[in-house]
Amino acid sequence: MNAAVTVQNLTVRFGGITALEDVSFTLNEGGFLAVLGPNGAGKSTLLKTLTGLISPSEGSVRIGGGDSQVVSYVPQLKTLDREFPALALELVVSGLRRRWPWRISGEDEARAMKALKSAGVGAFARTPIAHLSGGQLQRVYLARGMVRNPRLLILDEPASGIDFAGEGEFYHLLEHYQHDHPEATIVMITHDWSVARHHASAVLLLNRRVVGFGHPDEILKDELLRDAYGHRGHAHTMQVGE
């Protein structure tokens, strides 16, 4: 099986602060990687390095076969201007064109509608983004990420803003996408260990350095979680176990 993501001895520094240190792992095509770690562990920095938003200070990041691979990034909603005058459909088409669309062609509209419907928000295609709830907008962002059929889908805490019932459905959408695109790889930040256990094929436990990388059953263990999170990890494990 081919490697979708290869990270070697990756170190990222911002001024005098080291956000990531000597991080190495390889994720195969078709994998679903859950990235876990406490706040400030460097999870978002890792994802931004994978998308090319941040350059490594040392080490390297290699995405699949190179530049020809299609990568989609689904960021947190906090950078979005919610008051920007836009329809959900336009937001998805921007994912296809990589610029804001002045006009939408019939072909682009059909592809965007298909992505919106598969994300469960087809009915909101012509709704202004300012009128969407956080959960609906997150699904529109997912549709935007999926519309160009990426080989690598990178998601930064995609379930934030989605209610408990919608959350499970959201992860099923991701699984469904991988079912339809078996070669597609997903890298996702989550704070929910049960999500990682039930949906991911691999877990990267991070606290600036790699604390653990492997199958969820091997990594989501009390000892490693305590290494990553300190005593809070132990407390959470106890609650989950109970």
């Binding site: 960021p75 950078t79 201007d81 008051e83 836009a86 990589r98 804001w100």
Partner: protein, 271 residues
């Protein structure tokens, strides 16, 4: 009412005013949506430093057009604002406040070193649409051509306005595009300032776009509506102001504001 346009000065006012209105209303959608209203004001005041430097240099170079100094000076201030913003954690209004204060202060120092009084400084600061010279019309046409040249960047600027991080992740050169936007804004402000004055520039940069935003939910429609409101305010305001014997610039602002408040009432009724 239309007889007034038989005069050459009125024809020049209409041509230059229309160009300035269209250009400023076009860039206004980015100014409003990026909450950069203070930048327009700051750059207009910064241009004072450039005009003052030009007046100082005119002592040795009498034929020097102040615009050729004011334009690069204001572009330099605009780029410095962008640079400070990107290299520091300061809010954009702080960066603008620092740089435009510095530019104004330099302007005062330059003027204090001039041995003769020049009315140019006042003409640039407060401009009058009814005293537009043929050279101003040419400058306005240059501004229109410059704006047409950067129209292909509309989609990238809009994308980065919506979500800069997403645009960066899609390989849009957001930082470079921001430098271009602020530099073009600076040129537009300097040229427009001589024609319509500082107060009218600030109005053109904000009111038509804000009105358009109230009436549409798509950025493309907002851009078109903003340009139409801006152009319409000059087409209607200029002859009306002459007919009513009122200062043209101020009358156009009142007209734009009336449309803005009407749009607010209309929007409230529909929602």
């Amino acid at each position: 009412m239309l007889e007034a346009f038989e005069y050459a000065f009125m024809q020049r006012a209409l041509i230059a005013g229309l160009i300035v209105a269209v250009v400023c209303s076009y860039f206004g959608v980015f100014v409003v949506q990026r909450r950069m209203g203070f930048l327009g004001n700051g750059l207009a005041h910064s241009a004072f430093g450039g005009v003052a430097l030009a007046i100082l240099l005119q002592q040795h170079l009498p034929a020097l057009d102040p615009l050729w100094i004011a334009a690069p000076f204001t572009v330099a201030v605009a780029l410095a604002i962008q640079w400070v913003q990107q290299r520091s954690r300061l809010a954009s209004d702080t960066a603008i406040g620092i740089l435009f204060s510095l530019a104004m202060a330099l302007g005062i120092i330059f003027l204090s070193k001039t041995t003769r009084y020049s009315s140019d400084a006042m003409a640039y600061l407060f401009g009058s649409i009814l005293t537009v010279s043929p050279r101003d019309v040419i400058n306005a046409i240059i501004l229109a051509l410059l704006t047409i040249a950067v129209i292909p960047l509309w989609g990238r600027w809009a994308y980065a306005t919506m979500d800069a991080e997403l645009a960066r992740a899609d390989a849009v050169p957001v930082a470079r595009d921001n430098y271009i936007l602020t530099a073009v804004l600076a040129v537009a402000i300097v040229i427009a300032m001589k024609i319509v004055g500082i107060v009218l520039i600030a109005a053109f940069m904000v009111i038509p776009a804000a009105t358009a935003r109230l009436l549409t939910n798509r950025f493309g429609s907002m851009t078109i509506a903003s340009v139409l409101f801006g152009a319409g305010s000059v087409l209607l305001g200029l002859p009306l102001s002459v007919q009513l014997d009122m200062p043209s610039g101020a009358f156009i602002i009142v007209l734009q504001s009336a449309v803005f408040f009407s749009a607010m009432i209309l929007q409230k009724r529909h929602s």
